[in-house]
Symmetry: C2
Subunit: 721 residues, 2 copies
């Protein structure tokens, strides 16, 4: 008995000590070890069992992806029903054809042995997930390439693992969408939420209402053929595409093309700026529903998935209050709030969707009742969750929660299915770690403190308190109603050139949150694996790494961008909605400047911070040498950048940061000199230095220099030692 | 009189001394000087005169392109018929709508003054060419951005300025094609030659013969909707799209899908390898023409341009000789050679095209008679050009000359229009200077010695001799029959990832050859401008610069590719057809290795060569310092690359080059040491060093290390001084 306990203990230690595999998302269960499978030119792939065409195409693409990384000239390169294993190879065994829909079986198991790789799955979609794992498992030594010996049993924690891409603000053309789909597949995401319509544009062709794309797209939209192409491309990778037509608010584009739908008669233009606007469809006129019936039926026919998003967010209600006829209508129908009127509208729209065999999704406003904060809190404390929501909201409506835990909890307590997006807003350029720890079921795990920009916080702090007190807020059945989550890429502040660097690699860690067990939440290890996957994602055509220097070359007009590149890797865009303050950005303004070249959560910042941090495994003298070399490089780069700016005014945002970088480097070098020579360092950090660092830490051009604080801490730590 | 002569002389000196503007292609006429036009946020654009929609869209795109380079937040950003100049701006005055066709008026004039930019053109297509010039004219100083004061009168020398993109070997998807079109427009090219069918694949959808794309494309083809999208995209930029269906040879893909068309009954498969193969359509069966009638009519309907390419090259004739029925047919019809039979076939095909309102183009085999070299030479010397060509070739057939001056001369002397491609084969990775000096009318200018791989040289040396003797081989009228030229990008040895770096920036100098006056041929200045334009082309999405490090990151599996990148910029792929020797490359083999990352005519090689060359404007001691620093960097990079290779076998091609780079750097550093210390350097260069450099100059992995010879010359020059 004791011996067994000891063995178990030892095994656990071994496991804890072993590095996690270089996979993202990490599989549900895995055992590393055993002999590796060496990849040779004779490598073969066979598919057994009844399979959809998908798996043959993906298996053939697998050959290409391995070949381009390893340089191996395979003798076979196409997998079809007649492909047979003769010698060593990959055997894929599938039980049945997968029907791409919510809840399809995506599980698989993978066994890498010396003579065979065995991939078992209930469906071809599970097998595709397994192939992506195998692509990430390619490793090498001096002898050649191999799949590491390992046994994996894997399945997703959540069935809805999405990414929203909005098209109205900045249009993302087909090549961006296709490589986004490829990258999603690589990290096992399975829903592309395709956001079509907003105040700034309407982005797919409409044959029933052609003025939509003719007037409200600046010529940038997907034709029906292109929508079909996108849906097919996604289906091939086991990814559903869910469209959204946002109504009744966020509808300036629709109203601009068809003004009779408006709640208020006025001159309409497409919005050039970003924000929340008043134009709203008139929910009281039958003609509105006639229009929506035709339009939604057309759109529904283009997207085969069962789910259809109707928006419902951020309706200011002002245009409804301004129109006396709408006010009378509300009275007649006993609708006391604009949200209640919207609920009436939603039910009508839902009927249209039902007729088309669709299930509606809405942002959390479609469910939540308009009650004041105090009442809301009391209902929560009383456990009267039914009083927090509108009555008559159809039970199959899915709630996409973007404003926080209140809506997520209320929908689950009232039996509604939901999807979490709060905390997954990747457009807000927050660190990967923040998104990584944002659990769709926070009601039982450790709680993540919501970010400061929460716009809906009536009793969230009470929720957090209860969880911290150990209270279990959801039953197991209620937890099951939380289908998963969606990263949201609202494209206000990106162009097709910078889209990728805002989405990747951070979205990969959201993918892991939604796929892997809740217990997998080691941030340091996450970053280690994210950096590896980031380079792999590039192979799919993503531009998140390579466009940095491209954008710099454009501004400089030459390829001599080494120093600019070194400096920009220390700059990060301001987080949250801070970039909206100036309100000078529009659909047409340039998104090609410093803040667009800087990316969130820079790897170089993490590397430098690690060097500056005490106890990173090297001795002090060696560390001082490394820091000194780094600071000297900063001085060279900062000076060169200042010269660059001289001739290219478009680089002017760099100026304060370049000057700061030089100044703090000088302080750092002086400090090292004093420290080495045994000089007086106790009083080194004086007011002057404090001022230099405080100035350097300031935001300029919507960016912050992220190496200021690590260097400050480095100096203060040594000084106080 | 004397004073005027002096003035003219002085003006010429000034002109010779002034730098050419940073434009490519250079305009026909230009005068630099005058005040600059400063670009402000209030910059406006107005279009006067009757214009096609094209110009409004291009003018709106112009705003975006200027904004992204300058960071200017323009107050206007869309140009339409109601856009008016209020203050300073660009006035575009157009006489008439341009009809996109061969010979459309593309001339324009451009006058940049302090208060206005005036762009005059006879057609909107001319105006679009002028806008591209203006994009290249953006300049800056500390104050801001401006268009340089200048007056330009411009028109093309040739009306046919094309780029062939072949789809069968490696498929180039829509995004590659679109950015290629953008880049073509940027350097004023006007024909995309879209090569659809060959032994390795058939790349557009066919509704009349669906087995073509279903069986012969591996799922990679353009749908009808996509062809339409491409043609529209090109039209918007004033670029015609000319399709090619290559028959009767190069037709394995067609025969694989429809075997009854073959000249010989056998098992057919798509070709995986590259080369010239026997499968050929049977020209004697009526069913062949029934098939071609339906197919060509379908394809013709997708491409609105008047011209249609029917191939006709490299028919081995072997399958026709193997089939007794075809042999009998030839006898019955008095056809003594396979080329004569092909001529019979061509006339039938031409009738089909004529019915569709199309004019046929063929490679030069469609015109040239099969006569032996001695006879051909005698005909030439006798001036009997009519005896060099087949009889009955329709006079409106256009000849695309790919094998050399013989066909080009023969077609012009016999009254056929022609297009030159010999010397513009950019897939052969030759230096830009070679293509730049390749004049489509060599019959009056200095002669370019054809490259050694000419495969059709029966009396070319005699042509050259005559030109060198000052003989004028073509009349002015005959010269006019030479419509222009086409760069050809045969995609055997590229992927979608490496396509751009094979095409750009070198194709820009071909564009200049075809647009600018023949007298503009200064190679040094061409390279100066090509390097500038290369960076500008990147803004259109081209990957020719940014994919270098992306491909290295993939092979290394990390972003630490600085040394690899430094080394690969000194490597150039072997030129011509040398890569075909091994015959191990196929449609599916990896095109992601060292030879694919190395690019032709590397800028770094030119820079290093310049440093090593005597008399580059710095004193000897400074030069020695610079060379020493460079060689030390080589040693660092070479060592790091050798470490990289250790873990990543896919990098193994680098090994001999990295070792060589290190060894020659050591020799160079030793030499500099001796030279500086006044040591014995006369005997420095011995057999051992000679052997090191000879080994280093050798080809490995289809690449050559291009800094070996410059360093050798540097050492020998100083030693012998």
């Amino acid at each position: 008995m004791k011996l067994i306990k000891l063995l178990v203990f030892l095994l656990c230690v071994v496991h804890a000590g072993a590095q996690t595999p270089n996979l993202m998302p990490l599989p549900a269960k895995y055992t590393q070890g055993g002999k590796n499978f060496h990849i040779r030119t004779s490598f073969k792939i066979e598919v057994e069992g009844e399979a959809d065409e998908r798996i043959y195409r993906e298996a053939s693409r697998f050959y290409q992806r391995i070949a381009e990384r390893t340089g191996i000239f395979f003798k076979s390169w196409i997998v079809n029903a007649s492909s047979k294993l003769s010698g060593k190879g990959l055997l894929i065994r599938i039980k049945a054809k997968g029907v791409l829909a919510l809840g399809v079986d995506e599980s698989y198991s993978l066994r890498v042995e010396e003579n065979q790789v065995l991939l078992l799955a209930n469906t071809d979609i599970g097998a595709i997930r397994g192939l992506e794992t195998l692509v990430q498992m390619v490793d090498s030594d001096q002898e050649g390439y191999f799949f590491k010996g390992m046994v994996i049993e894997d399945e997703p924690r959540f069935s809805w693992r999405g990414l929203l891409v909005s098209q109205p603000y900045h249009f993302m053309p087909m090549d961006v969408i296709k490589r986004t789909i490829d990258a999603m597949a690589a990290v096992k995401m399975n829903v592309l939420h395709f956001y079509i319509s907003d105040d700034q544009g309407y982005r797919i062709e409409s044959k029933v209402f052609p003025r939509l794309h003719e007037m409200a797209s600046d010529g940038m939209y997907f034709t029906h053929a292109q929508v079909k192409e996108m849906v097919q491309y996604a289906d091939q990778r086991g990814i559903r595409v869910v469209p959204e037509i946002d109504v009744p608010g966020h509808s300036t584009a629709i109203i601009y093309a068809y003004p009779h739908l408006a709640s208020i008669k006025r001159e309409y233009e497409l919005q050039d700026h970003w924000g929340v606007f008043d134009p709203t469809l008139d929910p009281t006129k039958p003609s509105t529903y006639t229009f929506l019936d035709s339009l939604l039926t057309e759109v529904a026919s283009l997207f085969p998935d069962t789910y259809f998003h109707i928006g419902g967010d951020e309706n200011t209600g002002r245009d409804w209050k301004r129109n006396p006829a709408i006010q009378s209508f509300m009275k007649e129908n006993g609708l006391t709030t604009t949200l209640a009127l919207q609920n009436y509208f939603n039910r009508k729209v839902q009927t249209i969707l039902q007729k088309n065999g669709k299930i509606a999704i809405g942002w959390d406003e479609v469910l939540m009742k308009e009650v004041d904060a105090k009442t809301a809190k009391q209902h929560f404390l009383d456990g009267q969750f039914d009083k927090l929501i509108e009555t008559n909201v159809p039970k199959d409506m899915v709630i996409q929660s973007w404003r926080g835990m209140e809506a997520l909890l209320s929908s689950a307590k009232n039996g509604y299915k939901s999807i979490l997006s709060k905390g997954f807003y990747i457009d807000l350029v927050q660190p990967a770690s923040y998104h990584y720890l944002n659990d769709p079921i926070p009601f039982r795990n450790e709680v993540i403190v919501p970010d400061s920009e929460a716009n809906f916080d009536r009793f969230e702090s009470d929720i957090i308190k209860k969880i911290q007190q150990g209270e279990k807020l959801l039953t197991q059945e209620e937890e099951k109603l939380i289908l998963g989550g969606e990263a949201t890429m609202w494209t206000e502040h990106v162009s097709a050139e910078t889209f990728d660097s805002r989405v990747w690699p951070r979205t990969a860690v959201i993918a892991e949150r939604l796929w892997s067990p809740a217990e997998i939440r080691n941030v340091k290890d996450m970053y280690r694996r994210m950096d590896i996957v980031s380079v792999q994602l590039e192979s799919l055509g993503l531009t998140h790494i390579k466009n940095r220097e491209m954008l710099l070359r454009r501004l400089l007009g030459s390829d001599d961008v080494g120093s600019l590149s070194n400096v920009v890797q220390y700059l990060e865009p301001v987080q949250g909605y801070k970039r909206n303050r100036a309100n000078n950005f529009t659909r047409f303004s340039p998104y090609s400047l410093m803040v667009d070249i800087a990316v969130p959560d820079q790897k170089a910042v993490r590397t430098v911070t690690n060097l500056f941090t005490s106890g990173n495994g090297i001795n002090e003298s060696e560390k001082l040498n490394q820091v000194e070399m780094l600071l000297r490089q900063w001085m060279v780069d900062a000076k060169k950048v200042q010269l660059d700016i001289n001739q290219k005014p478009a680089l002017k945002d760099f100026l304060p940061h370049a000057i700061s970088l030089e100044k703090i480097a000088v302080v750092g070098l002086n400090f090292i000199n004093s420290y080495r020579s045994g000089g007086k360092i106790n009083g080194f950090w004086d007011k002057e230095k404090e001022a230099i660092f405080n100035t350097a830490a300031k935001e300029h051009g919507y960016c912050e220099l992220k190496v200021v604080e690590p260097l400050r801490r480095f100096i203060l730590d040594l000084q106080d030692k």
